[in-house]
């Protein structure tokens, strides 16, 4: 028996091409620890297209199939069907997409896979903008954020798309959020997803020091703050309606999160207050759903 709750096996190697403090790189490391070597990765265009390393290198020791930007859901569905037709129902097919490949250009194929309930795990490592192309806004970019296409004076005025709600609305067996600040929680969710059949969606918060203008050494801290401020609650939704909200985490004001990143430097006190109200309202809504789910179970 290991003394550690986190598996000691390393399926991701050093020498990868991620920026310092990359949340997406850490997320992959933990996800692979959870899933083990019997995994095939399907990777659309995203930071990981680069992080994995140039031909003939690869930073992971599982098979990787790079695919077109908008095709993570559909290609992964095909890999699943192909493996199964070869008699392999055991290998986990993991689609690993950024927020662009999930929230935006990849949403149609993801929705198709979710609606068909294809037996895959779709993980989105969400760094809240098109970081691989150099920090352009996506529909995952939060209101108030600077990016190169929401520059100073024109910072984003629309809220972050509620991707978990969208995927859960397909009635998939499992949709969850996770962050690298709670690695044991993240690993547990991937391990759970591995044992379930059908579509599993895991939304990972993945700070990007390069794009968020945050100190690389604070990536875990920023991840923790996102959860503590309830901007990114840790949540599981089973079958599209059974909500399990993690409520044992000390709460902090949203301002504490925003202050760690220069991308929010333009935000005013009024905007902070507005975000606090929105976040509180969303939290209360989640609590209500959680309690409703608990009642339904009882």
């Amino acid at each position: 028996m290991s003394n550690f709750s986190i598996p000691e096996s390393e399926l991701m190697s050093s020498g990868h091409l991620a920026c310092q403090g990359c949340g997406g790189a850490n997320a992959m490391r933990y996800a692979l620890k959870a899933l083990g070597p019997q995994t095939v990765l399907v990777m659309p265009a995203c930071c990981w297209s680069v992080i994995d390393g140039p031909f003939p290198h690869s930073a992971v020791t599982v098979p990787v199939f790079h695919t077109a930007f908008e095709t993570a859901g559909s290609t992964a569905a095909g890999v699943r069907a192909g493996l199964s037709m070869r008699g392999d129902d055991e290998t986990t097919v993991l689609a690993w997409a950024g927020d662009g490949g999930t929230f935006d250009i990849g949403l149609q194929a993801l929705s198709g896979a979710a609606e068909r309930n294809d037996d895959i795990i779709f993980a989105c490592y969400d760094n809240e903008a098109y970081m691989n192309t150099g920090i352009q806004r996506s529909s995952a970019t939060p209101a108030g954020a600077w990016t190169t296409t929401t520059p100073a004076g024109h910072t984003k005025d629309r809220p972050k798309k509620k991707i978990l709600d969208i995927i859960a609305a397909h009635g998939v067996p499992y949709a969850a959020t996770a962050t690298i600040a709670w690695p044991d929680d993240l690993i547990e969710k991937f391990q759970k997803a591995k044992t379930m059949r059908g579509m599993k969606f895991i939304h990972i918060y993945a700070p990007c020091p390069t794009g968020w203008k945050s100190p690389p050494e604070l990536t875990v801290e920023v991840s923790r703050l996102a959860v503590q401020t309830r901007l990114f609650p840790l949540l599981e939704i089973y079958d599209g309606h059974d909500y399990h909200l993690r409520r044992d985490i000390d709460v902090r004001p949203v301002r504490d999160f925003y202050k760690t990143q220069a991308r929010f430097a333009q935000m005013t006190d009024e905007q902070f207050d507005a975000m606090q109200r929105e976040t509180d309202a969303h939290w209360n809504e989640l609590v209500a759903r959680h309690e409703e789910s608990a009642r339904a179970m009882a």
């Binding site: 098979p63 070869r86 068909r116």
Partner: protein
């Protein structure tokens, strides 16, 4: 076993005979019956998964995934659906996946038109897909098997192409057989590379100028090798079932002074016109273009270089330059022959190409020593232009 099948169902039976593992497809007129029949067959008549995707783009992406996992994979589409796939058509080629796709030739919108022409498939000319154009439903069934035979030997995807309605919805007697019989021609798919956790590899990683160039050169080489492999497939098929098509087919070309060049179902009509002109003593012949990619340069030279005139009929248009087959024929003959090549446009958007149309084309060709224009549009109605806006 002989069946009465429309072209679309001939494909479905071909897919069954090929013992395909994974089908992913999205319906589009006039391809729909392929998908419908396969929906009934997959998992019932033969062991296969059918992924009912939400778009053609996802259809191609899904068969890219299944083929990469080592499963024999098929899809079918037409027109707008093929155009939507364009990005991932290139992906299938770069990933060297032996996917087979049926494309039912249909005109491109706007304006909406569901009838046949070839601009959808010919727009994909440089994706690296093989393209085989069929003339009959028997050829459609047989070519489905040829396509997998060729694709799995050269590691490139193959598109078999048939005319909307003239083949897709027209019933003919088709001699079909099952996977048990077909296996002698088409053994089970044994890819040399596939996604396998026991042998982890990364496919498609960032590749710089040092290697990308050679990878594209390999695709070009494989495409050229496909000419030989396509002939092998034709021979092997003939030895088992007595039917052969060639990569091109010369029809009454011996001693022909004028040779028509056609593809698809216009070929059948042209055969009858050639026969009747021959009865009148005219030295005319026909070259059917079955393979478009790889382009059979040597075969085209063999059949056309010694003719006095060549007349190419294109059910497609390369705007401002003429028919697309005509351009390719001219390029193939360059340096090998000075034979004048007349480019005729006919039948676009499903306009009928009748024996009279083809007769007119032969008459125009007979009337001039050389073409007096880049392209002859046959049967353009002046009155109609007055009412169609720009």
């Amino acid at each position: 076993m002989k069946k009465v099948l429309e072209g679309n169902h001939a494909i479905s039976y071909g897919v069954k005979a090929a013992d395909v593992d994974v089908v992913a497809a999205y319906p589009i007129t006039p391809q729909t019956q392929i998908v419908e029949r396969l929906s009934e067959m997959c998992g019932t008549d033969f062991d296969a998964r059918f992924i009912k995707v939400e778009s053609e783009h996802s259809a191609m992406a899904a068969v890219i995934g299944s083929s990469a996992a080592g499963a024999r994979s098929f899809t079918a589409t037409s027109s707008q659906g093929l155009l939507l796939m364009h990005e991932v058509l290139h992906w299938a080629v770069g990933a060297r996946l032996p996917i087979v796709m049926a494309n039912v030739n249909r005109a491109i919108a706007p304006p909406w038109n569901i009838w046949t022409d070839q601009n959808d498939s010919l727009s994909q000319r440089d994706t690296g897909w093989l393209q085989i154009y069929c003339e009959s439903n028997q050829e459609v069934f047989d070519t489905t098997l040829h396509a997998f035979y060729i694709a799995e030997r050269i590691h490139l995807p193959v598109m078999l192409v048939l005319d909307a309605f003239f083949l897709s919805h027209t019933s003919e007697i088709v001699d079909v057989f099952d996977a048990d019989e077909a296996r002698e021609f088409l053994p089970p798919f044994r890819p040399i590379e596939r996604l396998d956790p026991n042998s982890p590899r990364a496919y498609g990683n960032l590749t710089g100028p040092d290697n990308y160039y050679e990878l594209r050169h390999k695709i070009d080489t494989a495409m050229r090798d496909a000419l030989t492999v396509a002939r092998e497939a034709d021979d092997a098929f003939y030895n088992l079932w007595g039917r052969r098509y060639g990569i091109v087919e010369g029809y009454r070309t011996e001693d022909a002074a004028t040779v028509l060049v056609t593809s698809g179902t216009i070929t059948s009509t042209a055969r009858t016109v050639i026969d009747s002109r021959r009865e009148n003593g005219e030295r005319v012949g026909l070259l059917k273009m079955r393979l478009f990619r790889p382009f059979p340069v040597e075969a085209v030279r063999t059949f056309l270089a010694r003719a006095q005139k060549v007349a190419v009929i294109d059910r497609n248009i390369g705007f401002s330059i003429g028919g697309i087959f005509a351009q390719e024929v001219r390029a193939a003959l360059y340096g090998a022959s000075h034979v004048p090549v007349f480019s005729f446009i006919a039948g676009i958007g499903g306009r009928d190409v009748t024996p009279k149309t083809i007769g007119e084309i032969l008459d125009i060709t007979a009337a001039s020593e050389r073409p007096d224009r880049d392209v002859y549009w046959i049967g353009v109605k002046d009155e109609q232009l007055l009412y169609t806006g720009i």
